[in-house]
C-alpha cells in the first residue's frame, strides 16, 4: 500500500494513503479531541459528518482550519494540532455547543458517560462567554427511549445508525440553522415512526439526548412491596458485559456475581433467560423440522425460509417494513416472553402465587425488550407476562445504588427450576448463536444421531451477512445470518424476489447481536470491547456441562409435566405469537 509521510506537531509520521489526520496523529500518540466522529471499523460503521468542528487542526497552506477526522493526509503535509489558533478555535466551538446545552449535568442520565462533559472538563471550561436563546424541543418519552433533543449536539451518530446500519429511517435531521435537530419525520413520536426501538441510537449518543426509559424505580418499588413475588430473568449477553460497568475487563464473564447481586438486591427468584432460550430452541427447532419435513415431502404450501423471531427490534422491523412477509417468521415467542409466560403460569401455580401478585423483571442488553413486554398480545387481562425490562446499564445503576460491591461478591447459582440452561442458550447472545443452537438440536432430533461436532464455526463471525450449508446427514441445510437491519433487509428483499436459497435465517437487529445491544454498557466506538464480549459468549458456552437445548433436564421436565410436546396445544397457547402489519397502523398526524 502507498505510504504517505507528513509532519504533525513537528513529529514525522508515515501512514497508508487514505488515512485521515486524526488516524495519523493517533499513531504517534497525539489524541485530537473529537465529538461527532464515531466509527466501529470492524462492523463497517462510520459516522464522519465533519460537523462538530471540535477536531480542527491547522494545515500549513490552508486558508482555514481542517477537521482532522475527515481530512486525508497528503505527502509532506505539515499539521499543527495544538497551536494557539487551533486551541482558541476549538475552545470557542466547544463553548458554542455548551451555550446551547442544558447545564443540568447533575441530574442527567448520561452524567459521567457524556462526551460533551468530558470535553468541557478536558478544556477546563469554567464559564461560557455566550448567552442567548436555548433550543427548546418537546421531550418525548416512549416505552423504550427518552428523547431530550435540547441536549442534542447534532453529531448525527443516531442518524447514521438508524439509516445506514439499520435502514430503519426513523431519525433524520429536520429544520435548519439554529433549530436544526435530529427527529422523526414530521416531528412525530417514535411510536408513530418506523422506529424499531433497537436502541442503537441510544448506544452511540455522546450526550444525554437519547437515553433509555428507566424502569429501575418501578423495580425497586416491586421488590419493596411485601405482597409481591418478584422474579428476575437475565439475558445471555448481560453476563459478558455487566462487569465493564464495575471496571472489569471487557469480556469478563460475571454470571455468578450477577446472580449474587440480584439476590442481594432482594429478588425472590433469580432465574435465567437462558432457560427459556433452550425452550425457544425446542419450539422453533420443532417448527423448522416440521416445515423442512413437509417441504422435503413436496408440500408446496410450506413457506421457507423460517426466520428467527427472538429479536424484538427485528420483529418491529419486518412488521413495519415487510408486512407482506409476516407469515414467514417463526411464531415462537422470544425467550424473554416465553419466560414470562411460563413464570406467570406454570411457575406461579407451582409456588402458589396468584398471577397478579407476581412481578416478572427481565435484565436485557436491549431497549426493544421494553417495548416488547409492553405489547398487548403479551398480556393476560391487562397483566403483562413480563412487567419490567431493564437494561444492563440500569442493572448496574441499581447495584451501585444498593451499595453492593460487585467485584467482591461471591458467585451464586441461579435458582431452580427456571435457572438451568445449556451452552446452546448462552450463544443466543451473539449473531449466529440462535441458529447454531437450533442446528445442534435439529440435527440430533432429525437424524436421531449424535452430532459429529458441536461447534459450527462456519456460523460464527462478525460479517454483516453470512451463509453456511450444514450437512444434516446428507441433507444440505442452507442457513443465512444477518445482523444489523440493513443486512436483514438484503435477505428479506431476496425472499420477496423469490431468490432466497435459505431454509432458515437468523436475524439480530444490533451489530454483533445482543452483545452490542442498545442496553449494554457504552463502548464509545471501541470495537475491541464488542469482540471481547463476543469471545466471552463462546467461552461461556464451552464452560457449560450441557451444550444442547434438548438435553436440558429442566426443559425435558416441563414438557413432561406441563407442556406436553413442543409445538403442541399448550405450547401454542403459551409460547407462540402472531405478527401485525404495522405499516398500516401508523398514521401521521400533523400538528
Amino acid at each position: 500500500m502507498d505510504k504517505i509521510k507528513l509532519i504533525i506537531d513537528n513529529k514525522e509520521v508515515s501512514v497508508p494513503k487514505g488515512s485521515t489526520i486524526l488516524e495519523a496523529a493517533h499513531k504517534i500518540g497525539i489524541d485530537i479531541p473529537t465529538l461527532c466522529h464515531f466509527e466501529l471499523k470492524d462492523l463497517d460503521i462510520h459516522n464522519k459528518p465533519g460537523g462538530c468542528r471540535i477536531c480542527v487542526v491547522e494545515v500549513e497552506g490552508r486558508r482555514n482550519l481542517a477537521p482532522a477526522c475527515v481530512t486525508e493526509c497528503t505527502e509532506g503535509m505539515i499539521v499543527k494540532t495544538n497551536s494557539i489558533r487551533v486551541l482558541n478555535a476549538r475552545r470557542t466551538v466547544l463553548e458554542l455547543l455548551l451555550s446551547d446545552h442544558p447545564a443540568d449535568c447533575l441530574v442527567c442520565a448520561k452524567s459521567c458517560h457524556c462526551q460533551l462533559q468530558d470535553l468541557a472538563a478536558r478544556f477546563g471550561v469554567r464559564e461560557i462567554p455566550f448567552q442567548g436563546e436555548q433550543s427548546s424541543y418537546q421531550l418525548e418519552v416512549s416505552p423504550s427511549i427518552i428523547r431530550d433533543m435540547n441536549k442534542c449536539v447534532m453529531c448525527r451518530r443516531c442518524e447514521t445508525m438508524c439509516n445506514e446500519l439499520q435502514t430503519v429511517g426513523a431519525l433524520n435531521a429536520i429544520e435548519r440553522g439554529f433549530p436544526a435537530v435530529v427527529s422523526t419525520a414530521f416531528n412525530q413520536t417514535l411510536a408513530n415512526s418506523p422506529c424499531t426501538f433497537c436502541g442503537q441510537c441510544v448506544a452511540v449518543c455522546p450526550v444525554g439526548a437519547l437515553v433509555e426509559m428507566d424502569h429501575t424505580p418501578k423495580v425497586i418499588r416491586a421488590i419493596a412491596d411485601g405482597k409481591k413475588t418478584v422474579v428476575v430473568q437475565v439475558a445471555p449477553a448481560v453476563r459478558v458485559a455487566l462487569g465493564e460497568e464495575f471496571g472489569m475487563k471487557p469480556g469478563t464473564i460475571v454470571t455468578g456475581k450477577l446472580t449474587a447481586a440480584l439476590k442481594a438486591l432482594g429478588f425472590n427468584y433469580v432465574f435465567d433467560t437462558d432457560w427459556s432460550a433452550d425452550l425457544t430452541i425446542m419450539e422453533e427447532g420443532t417448527e423448522l423440522i416440521d416445515k423442512l419435513t413437509r417441504h422435503l415431502n413436496g408440500d408446496k404450501s410450506v413457506k421457507l425460509p423460517l426466520l428467527s423471531s427472538c429479536c424484538p427490534a427485528w420483529v418491529n422491523f419486518f412488521e413495519y417494513h415487510f408486512p407482506e412477509l409476516k407469515d414467514i417468521p417463526s411464531t415462537a415467542k422470544s425467550p424473554q416472553q416465553m419466560f414470562g409466560s411460563i413464570a406467570k403460569s406454570y411457575f406461579a401455580d407451582k409456588i402458589g402465587v396468584k398471577r397478579e401478585d407476581m412481578v416478572v423483571v427481565s435484565v436485557m442488553p436491549c431497549l426493544a425488550k421494553k417495548y416488547e413486554c409492553a405489547r398487548d398480545e403479551f398480556k393476560v387481562d391487562g397483566n403483562p407476562d413480563v412487567d419490567y425490562s431493564i437494561s444492563t446499564r440500569e442493572l448496574a445503576a441499581l447495584i451501585k445504588q444498593a451499595n453492593i460491591d460487585f467485584k467482591s461478591l461471591e458467585d451464586a447459582p441461579f435458582d431452580s427450576p427456571l435457572g438451568e440452561s445449556t451452552g446452546a442458550a448462552v450463544i443466543f447472545g451473539t449473531t449466529g448463536g440462535v441458529i447454531e443452537a437450533a442446528v445442534r438440536t435439529v440435527y440430533e432430533v432429525l437424524t436421531k444421531k449424535p452430532l459429529p461436532k458441536l461447534e459450527f464455526t462456519e456460523l460464527r463471525g462478525l460479517e454483516g451477512v453470512r451463509s453456511a450449508t450444514i450437512d444434516v446427514d446428507g441433507f444440505k441445510l442452507n442457513i443465512g445470518i444477518a445482523h444489523g437491519l440493513s443486512n436483514a433487509r438484503k435477505l428479506l428483499n431476496e425472499i420477496k424476489e423469490g431468490k432466497s436459497q435459505f431454509h432458515a435465517i437468523e436475524v439480530m437487529a444490533c451489530p454483533g447481536g445482543c452483545i452490542d445491544g442498545g442496553g449494554q454498557p457504552l463502548h464509545h466506538g471501541n470495537s475491541e470491547i464488542i469482540k471481547a464480549r463476543w469471545e466471552a459468549i463462546y467461552e461461556a458456552d464451552r464452560n457449560m456441562p450441557i451444550r444442547k437445548s434438548h438435553e436440558n433436564p429442566s426443559i425435558q421436565a416441563i414438557y413432561k409435566e406441563f407442556l406436553g410436546e413442543p409445538c403442541g396445544h399448550k405450547s401454542h397457547e403459551l409460547l407462540h405469537t402472531h405478527y401485525f402489519d404495522k405499516a398500516k397502523v401508523i398514521e401521521v398526524k400533523l400538528d
Binding site: 466551538v93 447534532m154 435548519r176
Partner: protein, 597 residues
C-alpha cells in the same frame, strides 16, 4: 409570410411581468390586429432589459425607441402614434434625471452607456420562447462547431485560455473545472447547472434563464461533450416559475429540433437535460449541498474532497457551473478566447452581471466589463444615490460579502480586488447604502439571513452565527458592552476559520467588514447608546420641542398607542415609556416640532 416592418419588444422579465407586461403584450397585439397591421408589426415578449427601475419597458424597432413605465392602457396610443403616425409618445420616454430631457434611444441613456452585454446578449432582444430567434442569433452554432472539431480537450483549452471564472461566487477557473471532470473516468458523468440563486436581491441567473434559456442549454451540451457526460440537470428553485416554464419550453423545442437528444448534428454525441427543483434553501447553492438535494437527501454540504468532479451526483463525476458562467460559453466559442480575454482585468476576464439595488436611482440588472470602477457603477450606470443623499457603502457578494466604502470607489471591480477590499464578487448582488443606513443594523440584517439559511450541520455556523446575531441585536438595542464587541470580533474569526462550507466561512464577513470600516458606529451604539444613522429604533426617542409645538393635537390623534399628552394650545409631550417609535407623529406635525434624538 409576414414581413414585419416594426418589432415591438415587451419586457417579460419578472419585474415587468409583475407590472402586467403580459397584459401590455396582449393589448398591443389586439390593437395591431384591429388596425390590420398584424403582418407589419410583430409584438414579442422578451427577457429582461435590465432597467427594472423603469419597467414595464416596451422597445420599438427599427428606430430603437425605449418606452418606460408603460401601462396596459398606454398601448393604443403607442400603436396609433408611434406606429401609424410615426410620432414618438413623449410622455412615455425616459427622462434623464440630470437634464430632465427625454431620451428615446436606450443607447443614449447613462444606464446603458457603460454596459457590455455578453451573458445578457439576448435578454431583451429575442423571444425566449422561440428557438428560431435564438438560432437566428447564432444559437447552437457554438455547439455545432464544437462537435465538428470533435476535440473535447481543444474546447476545454479554449475555455481555459479565455480566463472565464465561475460566476456563482467562488471564481474558480471554469476551464480547469471542466478539465478535472474530463479526466475522471467513469461510465456515467453529469453536467449540472446551478440555478439556485439565493442572494437577497439577486436575479441575474433568473433573468438569463427567463430571457435566454437556450444559451444555457447549449452551453451545458458543450460542457457535456467536453467532459464526456450525456446527461444534464438544472437545479432550479421552485420559486422561479417563469424561468422554469421557459426552460421547459426551450428544452422541448431543442429536442424537437434535434439540438438536444440523440446524435446531435448527426454526431455520436447525445445529451439530455432535465430539471430538478429546489425548495429555496440558500445553502443548496453550495455544490455538494445542491447535489445532495438533487439526490433527494437533506440539502446540506459535505466535506470536500471528494469534489463533485470526482464524486458528485449519484457518486459519479459531476461538473457544476452557474447559469451566468454557462451563458458566456457559446459566445466564447464563437468569438474566440482572444476576444473574451481582451475584456476585463488581468485575472478576471469578460463581464459580470450585477443586480443593482438599494439607495440608488437606477435599480436594475447590469452587465459591465470586469475592471469597471464602483464610481462608474454607482454614479453613471446607477444614476447616483436616491434623493441626492450621500453614498455610504456598497455591499457586494450577497450575505457573505462585505461593505465597500467611499475609499474603494475608484477600485476596479474584479474577483481579487474585491477580496482584497474585504468583500467578494459573490453571485453579483450590489446593494447601495446611504447616510441613513446604520451599518450595525446592516450587518444584523445579513446575519439574520445566514442564521435563517444555515443548514445547521456544523457547530460554528449553527450556533455561532446565532450568537453573533444575538450580540448584534443586543448592540442595536443599546445594551451592548465593550466586551460584546470583543466577542463579536473574535467569534467572527473563529466562525470563518472553522465552518464546514462557504456559507459559514463567509457569513461573518458583513460583521467584520462593517467593524473595519465603521468602527465608530459600533462604538457609538455601545458607548453613547446612540445610532448615528438614527435607524435603530431602540436608540432613538421622539421628542416634542416645546418652543415649536402649538398644541394643535394632530399628533395626539395619529398616535396609535396614546403616548402623546398635552392640553390644547399648550406644548405636548411624548411619554417615552409608551412610545413605540413608529414615526406617525413626525409625519403629521406641520410645524416640525417633533424631533428624533
Amino acid at each position: 409570410m409576414a414581413n414585419y416592418k416594426y418589432h415591438m419588444l415587451v419586457c417579460g422579465g419578472t419585474g415587468c411581468f409583475a407590472s402586467q407586461s403580459d397584459q401590455i403584450k396582449k393589448n398591443l397585439a389586439q390593437i395591431i390586429e384591429e388596425k390590420g397591421l398584424q403582418n407589419e408589426v410583430q409584438v414579442v415578449i422578451t427577457g429582461c432589459f435590465g432597467f427594472c427601475e423603469q419597467g414595464p419597458i416596451v422597445k420599438m424597432l427599427p428606430d430603437n425607441t425605449f418606452y418606460v413605465r408603460v401601462k396596459p392602457e398606454d398601448c393604443r396610443e403607442l400603436v396609433e402614434e408611434h406606429i401609424i403616425k410615426g410620432r414618438k409618445v413623449n410622455r412615455l420616454l425616459y427622462t434623464d434625471p440630470e437634464n430632465k430631457e427625454h431620451v428615446a434611444d436606450s443607447k443614449h441613456m447613462e444606464f446603458y452607456k457603460k454596459q457590455l452585454r455578453i451573458a445578457l446578449r439576448n435578454c431583451g432582444f429575442i423571444d425566449p420562447e422561440n428557438i428560431n430567434e435564438y438560432i437566428a442569433r447564432d444559437g447552437y452554432a457554438a455547439l455545432a462547431s464544437v462537435l465538428e472539431i470533435n476535440n473535447p480537450l481543444a474546447t476545454i483549452d479554449v475555455i481555459k485560455k479565455s480566463g472565464l471564472r465561475g460566476r456563482g461566487g467562488g471564481g474558480f477557473p471554469t476551464g480547469l473545472k471542466w478539465e478535472i471532470a474530463a479526466k475522471n473516468h467513469a461510465d456515467q458523468k453529469y453536467v449540472v447547472c446551478n440555478a439556485d440563486e439565493g442572494d437577497p436581491g439577486a436575479f441575474m441567473d433568473r433573468s438569463i434563464l427567463e430571457g435566454d434559456p437556450h444559451s444555457v442549454l447549449e452551453a451545458m451540451a458543450i460542457n457535456g461533450f467536453c467532459i464526456g457526460a450525456n446527461k444534464g440537470l438544472i437545479y432550479i428553485r421552485a420559486e422561479y416559475p417563469l424561468a422554469i416554464e421557459r426552460l421547459l419550453i426551450a428544452i422541448k423545442q431543442a429536442e424537437e429540433t434535434g439540438l438536444l437528444g440523440k446524435n446531435i448534428f448527426g454526431s455520436d454525441f447525445s445529451f439530455d437535460i432535465e430539471l430538478r427543483y429546489g425548495a429555496g434553501a440558500f445553502v443548496c447553492g453550495e455544490e455538494t449541498a445542491l447535489i445532495h438535494s438533487m439526490e433527494g437527501e437533506r440539502g446540506e454540504p459535505t466535506f470536500k474532497p471528494p469534489f463533485p468532479a470526482q464524486e458528485g451526483y449519484l457518486k459519479m463525476p459531476t461538473n457544476v457551473n452557474n447559469v451566468e458562467t454557462y451563458a458566456n460559453i457559446p459566445v466564447i466559442i464563437l468569438k474566440g478566447w482572444e476576444w473574451f480575454s481582451s475584456i476585463g482585468t488581468e485575472k478576471s476576464k469578460g463581464t459580470k452581471v450585477f443586480a443593482l439595488a438599494g439607495k440608488i436611482n437606477n435599480v436594475g440588472l447590469i452587465e459591465v466589463p470586469m475592471g469597471i470602477t464602483l464610481r462608474e457603477v454607482v454614479y453613471e450606470i446607477g444614476g447616483g444615490i436616491k434623493d441626492g443623499k450621500k453614498f455610504k457603502a456598497m455591499q457586494t457578494g450577497g450575505p457573505s460579502g462585505g461593505c465597500l466604502t467611499e475609499k474603494f470607489l475608484d477600485t476596479p471591480i474584479d474577483y481579487d480586488n474585491l477580496i482584497e477590499a474585504g468583500s467578494m464578487m459573490g453571485s453579483g448582488g450590489m446593494i447601495v447604502m446611504d447616510e441613513d443606513d446604520c451599518m450595525v443594523a446592516v450587518s444584523k440584517f445579513y446575519l439574520e439571513f445566514t442564521v435563517e439559511e444555515s443548514c445547521g450541520k456544523c457547530t460554528p455556523c449553527r450556533i455561532g452565527n446565532k450568537r453573533l446575531y444575538e450580540l448584534l441585536e443586543k448592540i442595536t438595542e443599546g445594551k451592548g458592552t465593550m466586551e460584546d464587541l470583543d466577542i463579536l470580533k473574535s467569534l467572527s474569526k473563529v466562525i470563518k476559520d472553522t465552518s464546514l462550507c462557504g456559507l459559514g466561512q463567509t457569513s461573518p464577513n458583513p460583521v467584520l467588514s462593517t467593524i473595519d470600516n465603521f468602527w465608530d458606529e459600533y462604538l457609538a451604539h455601545v458607548m453613547e447608546k446612540k445610532c448615528p444613522a438614527g435607524q435603530c429604533k431602540a436608540l432613538k426617542s421622539y421628542i416634542i420641542e416645546p418652543d415649536l409645538c402649538i398644541g394643535c393635537g394632530a399628533c395626539v390623534r395619529v398616535c396609535p398607542v396614546n403616548a402623546i399628552k398635552g392640553e390644547k394650545k399648550m406644548p405636548h409631550e411624548i411619554n417615552q415609556a409608551d412610545c413605540i417609535k413608529c414615526g406617525a407623529c413626525i409625519e403629521k406635525c406641520k410645524f416640525n416640532a417633533i424631533l428624533i434624538k
